[in-house]
């Protein structure tokens, strides 16, 4: 091509091409289209942008660190242990104040266990025996406490006994106090310090407000209405808010989830990003099956006597485990989701126009006429190409042509 042709090509680049429209003076379809446009606009502005904050990029993977500290003492007076005072070092396991902590509220203590032989507990089916052959030597008792020695121990005049086992003897008696030992744990308090960070937005915050004075933090108690940002919780309240009964849970144990939810709009001031606490019971009490509700575990304190022989106190601890679970969502304006959402709105309007086209071209009385106006048929015969545009409003069927 010559220089002129190239120049023409270059210039044609800056011609503005705009779609040619046909104005159909049909008020019904016109109103329908405006209604569609308004609906899309309302959805986009009202739902997507205002309610769902579609202009924000969100981060739901937050880093969290939880520090917990319990306070409170309890006094017990039982025949087994005598008068005893329980303080934090006695009833909190583990002591170091992590996000999962356990408060002992009931105990089965089996003191002075030593490695020896003794009869297995008669509440274990596998340990019941009639004669020595029922107790295979060296076999572990299923769900039991030791290894069978091969002897069947019977009371003088009974026909049923239990196998003798090698174990930490004597074995634990299977009965727990009905009334929880540390029922007064209801009044203990826990101080929960939670520091979070949204890595995507490099935003950090703590649940303990920096502006609060020290004495408030020492005396306040959390309640959703009055002190929603006080980080000190009364255990009894937590259990009640989770829908549990403290004394009942204290007796058989249980697990309580303390959910801390951070729902932060980082387009606003950081001071408006505050934690929201909620509480729920995590062991399914409703199922009423002893295997899946309640919470307990065994641990032992080891001692050594003057002869250097180890003995231990086995403790089956019932109590309430608290799991502090932190989750959150932060949102901040970002151009990409904004444009994606706007685009989806525009595409929706396009779809609306297509729908109105269908109405105009196939459903109304004079659709045949509009079809002819909208679609201009051209055939590449040399004769036609010289004529004026062919407009054929009453032509062959094009019912599916609009798709």
């Amino acid at each position: 091509m010559g220089q002129v042709a190239w120049k023409a090509l270059f210039l044609s680049l800056f011609d503005y091409k705009t779609e040619k429209y046909v104005i159909a003076k049909n008020k019904k379809v016109g109103i329908l289209y405006r209604a569609v446009q308004l609906s899309v606009l309302a959805y986009l502005v009202g739902w997507v942008f205002v309610v769902k904050k579609g202009y924000q990029d969100t981060d739901t993977s937050l880093q969290s660190s939880v520090i917990t500290k319990l306070k409170g003492v309890a006094f017990t007076n039982t025949s087994e242990l005598g008068e005893r005072l329980w303080d934090v070092a006695d009833y909190v396991i583990p002591p170091q104040g992590e996000s999962v902590f356990f408060v002992v509220t009931n105990l089965i203590v089996t003191p002075n266990q030593r490695q020896a032989t003794c009869p297995e507990s008669d509440s274990i089916p596998d340990a019941l025996c009639h004669e020595d052959e029922d107790c295979q030597e060296g076999a572990a008792v299923v769900a039991g406490n030791g290894v069978k020695t091969g002897r069947c121990l019977k009371d003088r005049d009974s026909i049923r006994g239990t196998c003798e086992i090698l174990a930490w003897c004597p074995v634990e008696k299977r009965s727990k106090p009905k009334k929880p030992l540390l029922g007064s744990a209801e009044n203990f308090t826990v101080y929960i310090k939670n520091s979070i960070r949204f890595p995507k937005f490099k935003f950090s915050k703590m649940n303990v407000l920096a502006t609060d004075n020290e004495s408030y933090l020492k005396t306040c108690r959390y309640s959703a209405e009055e002190h929603p940002y006080c980080p000190i919780f009364v255990l009894g309240n937590i259990v009640r808010w989770a829908g549990g009964d403290f004394q009942e849970m204290a007796s058989g144990g249980g697990v309580i989830g303390i959910q801390i939810e951070w729902n932060c709009d980082l387009d606003k001031a950081p001071s408006e990003c505050n934690p929201h606490y909620s509480f729920s019971r995590l062991d399914n009490k409703s199922a009423e099956s002893s295997i899946s509700s309640g919470y307990n575990f065994r641990f032992a304190k080891y001692y050594r006597d003057a002869e250097g022989v180890d003995y231990r106190t086995l403790i089956k601890a019932y109590g309430i485990r608290f799991d502090v679970m932190v989750n959150g969502k932060a949102g901040k304006f970002n151009i990409i989701p904004t444009i994606i959402n706007i685009s989806s709105g525009l595409a929706l309007m396009g779809a609306g126009a297509f729908f109105c086209d269908l109405v105009l071209l196939y459903l109304i009385k004079k659709s045949n006429f509009y079809r002819g106006k909208k679609y201009e048929e051209v055939k590449s015969s040399s004769r036609k190409s010289l004529s004026s545009p062919t407009l054929n409003g009453n032509q062959s069927p094009e019912q599916l042509g609009g798709l």
Copy 2:
């Protein structure tokens, strides 16, 4: 403007404007366009909506609480410890049943350590010495057990010795039993209770099915094929499924990940949201470097003798740590992702139409003719504005004009 003009303006709002189309009776391009439309539709419906569930909003940040409980006893008979029975309180660390638990399977016990001076272990390079000057007083032995006192302890006739240190004496001997002490831990079982919550959808569930009867939960053992929802696992099976050898891992320690995956379609019934378990080894055994494979740690049991002097039993515990890791994804129908995905399909169709336009206007034989039909050139000279539309099918180059 007068009232009439305003009324006309208002009425014109409800005129329906629709794009004018040119029908090109070209079957090739027509079929191409239908093929593009079908592909987009197939991608959108088949891939985006059916396979990837693009109509759902997803939540991947779940709250999880894990309770674990081990069962099983083991009997050992060694020269060091004599006949001994190990129960849960002995071999589980920590005892309280959290998501990370450790089962002791091998031990190096160093009993009766007291604060004193003694020779450092000769397996530590920094403690080797020829004379007292090699042992700088007060310096800690690098990777060792104590602080040098300044003396070099040698056997009578040797030239090399080890520094005397102030430490818990005697120091640990560096040898672990080849055969794991608690090899029978292979038969121990662990009951894993996992309760999850998707905060975005306020959906909670447990891995222990509420409908199951209690005896099933007491006797079942998990296996992927037969009992995929039984929450009781045999340790030996877990290690085998993770690709490890239990006896070998029991000897040198290791870390096993128990992944619980919740992949929930909340548009379906809650009962179809079930956990999927998988197992993997987390310490890289393959690397064969002693520093990064295996798992062990030291802890001590503290005693006090009659004179009130502290002494301790140092235990280097080898064993298998199990990390229960829970993750999940919940999806639920949401209008916003649905519309975004449909919009992207519509936009794709628009792109397809643009591509077909290019074919029609530049690649086929009669493209020149179609170009003239599609583009109607107008010039804003007053003369032309009164004439009929200018159609110039054989005009200046517009190769790039369609972009």
Copy 3:
């Protein structure tokens, strides 16, 4: 319809319909439109695809397992404890090497506590008394150590005393050493093994590089510049990088977050997916309120004397808690976000065209003329439908018609 009509309908399906365009030879609007197109393209390619990797599907919910192991010994010589050596089993709580570990650096030791009665500490406001009536029998001392017995203990000639309590006696003295006991913990090292998995992409990796030789892993020390992938950290460095002063933190305790960030582009080689470490202080020292800064907890070691009576050593441990927090983001090419982002770009171009239309039709001098060309008004009167297309460039107002 007859067979012929059906055939015509079927054939019309493969007619290609393309929008009719009006070429406005207006350079201003043409250049404006090209500029809009270029901006959208630059935003789409430059920002969305290159910078933000909009063609990738991302996973931010990773599974992580952390193993930690400390090394180091410290020697102390105090009047209370005498010469003493501290090793890992003494100062790490809990011992098993989880992601949260605590290093004891300062202590208040209260030895030989027994269940008895003794005066409450006089630093507790609730325990101060003038006469026995001030000490209600059986009431727990608020924020105190025991339960009041009802007696007020006074020195002979003073008027103020403290209530007698039933507690672990003697109670703890409220004073901690100014100088941290284990200040030399600054030189301890911690080896952090972190193995992660992105469940969506089934991609696993460890922070300990498999290719490194064993001796490197034994001798290297992490530093951001020189050894960014060495997994061994000096405690003193961690605290310094977190902006703290080790000796000051060792005295009053504190919490340090060790963030491990995995930012992986899985379209690249797995070897380019490496951890990035950062350190921050999590207890808000800045607030200067004693209740929310620092870190300490109490635990006890239990002993039993020859008579079988329990006594304990209460330890209030100050120290530094390290929270290893792992988060990450993996991205991998996925067709759905790619198409969504491209679509949003296309829709943006459509919006740009609409904007240019507004300029062309309403803002430039000859907009009236172009409006007539773009919009072809049709009326469904039978008379008009036979005439040639009605072009009315100078017609009734349509200012809002383009919307």
